[in-house]
């Protein structure tokens, strides 16, 4: 589908349960990706899906950032978060 090829811009507000997703990374490999998107949570409502690759956090490119760095950026983001993500299948092309 054409639609799937576009990166997604997702904006979400923090809830008492957080944003409702897990950030995953593999040691020694660049790139952080989305997992365990909570049904009905802020992240799902913003359009995040499992296996989306994170390209930007609040306008900052994080493709070469470590897991820890990206986690810190999201935590320092306050009560709202903007992420640019791409489907893994698209990202790897």
């Amino acid at each position: 589908e054409e639609e799937d090829l576009k990166p997604k811009f997702c904006r979400m507000e923090k809830t008492p349960d957080g944003y409702g997703f897990h950030l995953n990374g593999i040691q020694g490999v660049f790139g952080q990706f989305i997992k365990e998107v909570v049904k009905g949570g802020a992240a799902e409502r913003a359009g995040l899906e499992d296996d989306d690759m994170v390209v930007e956090v609040n306008g900052v490119n994080v493709e070469k950032s470590s897991h820890h760095e990206v986690v810190e950026m999201i935590r320092r983001s306050g009560n709202s978060l903007e992420m640019l993500v791409a489907r893994k299948s698209v990202y790897e092309k």
């Binding site: 957080g18 944003y19 997703f21 897990h22 950030l23 995953n24 990374g25 593999i26 040691q27 020694g28 997992k35 365990e36 897991h67 986690v71 999201i74 935590r75």
Partner: protein, 46 residues
Amino acid sequence: SQAMKKWVQGNSDEAQEEMAWQIAKMIVNDVVHQSNHNSPGKSTKL
């Protein structure tokens, strides 16, 4: 093997300590290797 000789000959405290040390190192190395191998990923709830 130095440890083994001492173990067989004298069974001294020193030899026992050496043996325990070697085994402990083997165990720790194994654990480190296993955990690196089995969970190369990091996941953070946000």
